[in-house]
Symmetry: C2
Subunit: 194 residues, 2 copies
Amino acid sequence: MDTFAERTKRRLRDELLDAAYDALVAGGYDGLRMVEVGRRTGVSRQTVYNEFGDKWGLLEAVAAREAERFLVDVNDALAEQDDPIDGLRAAIERALVLAGDNPLIKAALGQPGSDQASQLLTTRGQQLLELSHQRLDAHVREHWPEVPAEDATTCVDVALRVVLSHIVNPGAAAAVVAEQVARVLGPFLTSRRQ
Amino acid sequence: MDTFAERTKRRLRDELLDAAYDALVAGGYDGLRMVEVGRRTGVSRQTVYNEFGDKWGLLEAVAAREAERFLVDVNDALAEQDDPIDGLRAAIERALVLAGDNPLIKAALGQPGSDQASQLLTTRGQQLLELSHQRLDAHVREHWPEVPAEDATTCVDVALRVVLSHIVNPGAAAAVVAEQVARVLGPFLTSRRQ
DNA sequence: ACCCCCTGTCCGATCTCTTGACATCTGTCA
DNA sequence: TGACAGATGTCAAGAGATCGGACAGGGGGT
């Protein structure tokens, strides 16, 4: 059952995340003020704590929502190709292009030595990797029937880490990186094909 | 200040009105079930009572909201004309056409001897008349500078009652009625012009 | 006469948010 | 260095709204 109270709760959470997102884009983790997030949403500071525990919890929630949206897009790119290697290339390119335009990522990796929030992409990147696996493995295992599941997951893992590295530390252009990775992983996939 | 709680309260009221509107259109006043309005909104029956007092109060609230929307449209028709008589004619025609298409009015005036809700258009029509005056007089007094305010109000009152009568008891086509009323009231407005 | 359904009311339990207070930490200014 | 402002994080009391269950009353149908 979908009660009004449940919908209201979801809406509150969503509006708080919107406010926090704006604050993060505007001023990074240090510029994020709990009292300001509450004020912008029309709610007390305590309510923000009730919902997210602490400031880092709020950051993680914003990042998780953003990552979900991000992955939907990447998954679409993956799904538009029939061949695994083509899918890999398309998804990687899409991910790098999206990341380059993403305001939250830009804010986290901004000039000043980088924001604390950037840790979610580096030293505290497990969550992001796990979430990405959950969202991408499902598709891969279903649509790459000729590749053993375990090998597909391995492949996704490698690609994921390379992409994440390129997001944090950009190298060549998106299309170039995508092509590189596809060329490197292609033989592996082909050799494992059943 | 626009707190989250206030917005939520308004949203609740609005969703309840939506549910009640649907129920009224589907089954008239007798088909309106308080428990059903609550269920559709995901809220208890008690909450519906807290918000509207009783069933008749809920009906009045639905009617009031609908009337507001209706009058915005009629007021637009009035405002599109420079000449008072043209405005009167346009507004009357618009009102009759809108009323003919309005699902709520259709339900209230449906075949079976007519619904209890129809009383809001007849024996309990004062509220509607007063609301209409509030919404229309403001425009008329501002945009008909050549007509004394009192006379403008009188004119609106007569037109309003004729229109309401035609809604409840349709006569000629909308355009014909509008022309009739304009022709009858025209000389009065002209004679009072300053 | 009986039953069922709906209206309308009451009240205690529960949940969420608010408010104010407090400890703690950090950066800044004198 | 010391005082101070501003931020995080925690706690408890209290207010407000909703829920759930119960009950009385009134029709309508069998």
